[in-house]
């Protein structure tokens, strides 16, 4: 059993790492990480805009943003992926590669979840910061940019990292639209060997666990540092947001 696993890893480590690259598309862990990093990096600005729109009093900002967040949170990710995959070519007439489809879907989905985290971070600051900013003469944009967002985003960093861990796990769904990520690579190996599914998928589970556990651990450490750094001031809301952030791998 252990010997099998070692053999499989030895024979297929390159496929697990980068897929068929450079002879084919980039895949494996590399694709999984690139997909999840890109999705969170792009979802982050989207989420800040969504959060600000959801906090806005202007109905033209509030309602569309709220609809996006509720729809994205209210349907399964797989359904969203299939919709994008099949609908975008019909609407635009262009065939969109699986990787791009997956990335766009993840950005919308992660953006919606992150926006609620960001919104919570802003609300947790309390009224006093915004009032102080206004009293000094800052407009809404200036107050957000220099006073509210720097604090709120810093405080929700652990939650953002947790969401990144979720994104890594969600990239597995790319498998259904043939995105050559890590799960796809593992399945290719399994299809070649045919007789060793347990060993192959054990390796897959182990890789995901190690990656996600490390990041969750990093989130916990980060959270502790932030709580320590901010302790001594009105720390209660900060501590609350930070605690809510921990997600099990």
């Amino acid at each position: 059993m252990i010997a099998d696993i070692i053999t499989i890893v030895r024979d297929n480590w390159l496929l697990l790492l980068v897929g068929q690259y450079p002879n084919g598309p980039l895949g494996g862990i590399a694709a999984t990480l690139i997909l999840s990093v890109l999705s969170i990096a792009l979802a982050f600005p989207v989420s800040v805009l969504l959060a600000l729109a959801r906090l806005s009093k202007a109905p033209l900002l509030y309602w569309p943003a709220t609809a996006v967040v509720f729809i994205a949170r209210g349907v399964p990710l797989l359904m969203l992926i299939l919709w994008t995959y099949f609908m975008v070519p019909i609407i635009t007439g262009y065939n969109v590669p699986g990787f791009a489809t997956m990335l766009v879907t993840l950005v919308i989905y992660e953006g919606a979840f992150l926006s609620e985290i960001v919104r919570g971070g802003i609300l947790a600051l309390g009224r006093g910061q915004m009032e102080a900013a206004k009293a000094l003469g800052h407009g809404g944009a200036s107050a957000m940019l220099y006073i509210i967002l720097p604090q709120a985003l810093f405080n929700v960093l652990p939650s953002i990292l947790s969401q990144f861990v979720s994104a890594i796990k969600e990239t597995t769904l790319g498998y259904v639209i043939n995105v050559p990520e890590l799960t796809f690579a593992a399945n290719q190996i399994n299809n070649q060997l045919l007789t060793k599914p347990f060993q192959v998928f054990f390796i897959l589970a182990l890789i995901y666990y190690v990656v996600c556990w490390s990041l969750t651990r990093a989130a916990t450490l980060l959270e502790r540092r932030i709580v320590t750094k901010r302790s001594g001031l009105s720390g209660a809301p900060l501590a609350l947001t930070a605690t809510a952030a921990t997600v099990e791998p």
Partner: protein
């Protein structure tokens, strides 16, 4: 600069005319007619819930009013004022909060420097020089690099005063500046306020510090249930309050 038409020297700094405010059906301010003259120090006192904080917060429009008008330095605060003009006006009204509201992600120095740079377009060097001078003035020149979490309540409130002064406001409003402080820190904040008053700063202070009112105030406004019941010199007010409610208030304070 362009918008602040320097009102005539004799005109009041703050004028309340027939100000009415309600929270839903509950009246918070009723028929407020009062003035704060230039260079005057007004202390607003009264039992809790009497509308003192609401009143002071209407001056820079942290609270809206339903009727009447408030003028600051000759400029209408409520009514049609919006956006940039409102921000410009607010930047000229120094405001100190009960809960300090320092920006916790910035050092004491940066707290004081931020708004002159971002709002007035001051250079970093000029803003820094002003901030150093003001922090020195409130006795915190050795704490400029400290973050708010590393400062005591009294120190935080003094930074907050320096932060407000950095915008060079012609008047300062204090909303219970010492109520959140431990007793031993009240003195250091009041000392800063006394020195401001002695330099001729126009001040409107909501406070329970009757010693401060007696020594520093030019006039005391006594509020109850949303009305200004008395506006008198501290001498008259403390020696010979006119209203029954004011007498009871002062008697309760002595206990």
């Amino acid at each position: 600069m362009t918008q602040s038409q320097p009102a005539q020297a004799g005109a009041p700094m703050i004028t309340f005319s027939n100000v009415q405010k309600r929270y839903g059906a509950v009246p918070a301010l009723i028929d407020i007619n009062a003035e704060v003259a230039r260079g005057e120090v007004v202390v607003v006192c009264g039992p809790s819930g009497s509308g003192k904080s609401t009143l002071i917060r209407t001056v820079n429009r942290l609270e809206e009013i339903q009727a009447g008008s408030i003028q600051f330095d000759g400029q209408e605060v409520h009514g049609s004022l919006r956006g940039k003009q409102l921000n410009r006006l607010r930047s000229r009204i120094g405001f100190v909060f009960q809960s300090f509201n320092l920006f916790p992600h910035l050092s004491a120095l940066d707290n004081v420097m931020l708004s002159p740079i971002k709002i007035n377009g001051a250079s970093r060097e000029a803003a820094r020089a002003t901030a150093m001078r003001l922090l020195d003035r409130v006795g915190l020149s050795n704490k400029i690099q400290s973050f708010p979490a590393q400062l005591s309540g009294g120190q935080q409130q003094r930074v907050a005063i320096a932060r407000a002064l950095a915008m060079e406001p012609p008047a300062m409003l204090f909303d219970e500046p010492t109520s959140a402080l431990d007793p031993e820190m009240v003195g250091e904040v009041l000392a800063v306020m006394r020195s401001l008053a002695s330099e001729g700063m126009t001040m409107m202070c909501v406070t329970h510090e009757m010693g401060f009112a007696r020594d520093v105030a030019d006039r005391v406004w006594f509020m109850d249930a949303g009305r200004i019941l008395e506006a008198a010199t501290p001498d008259e007010f403390f020696r010979n309050p006119q209203h029954e409610r004011a007498k009871r208030f002062l008697a309760d304070l002595r206990h």
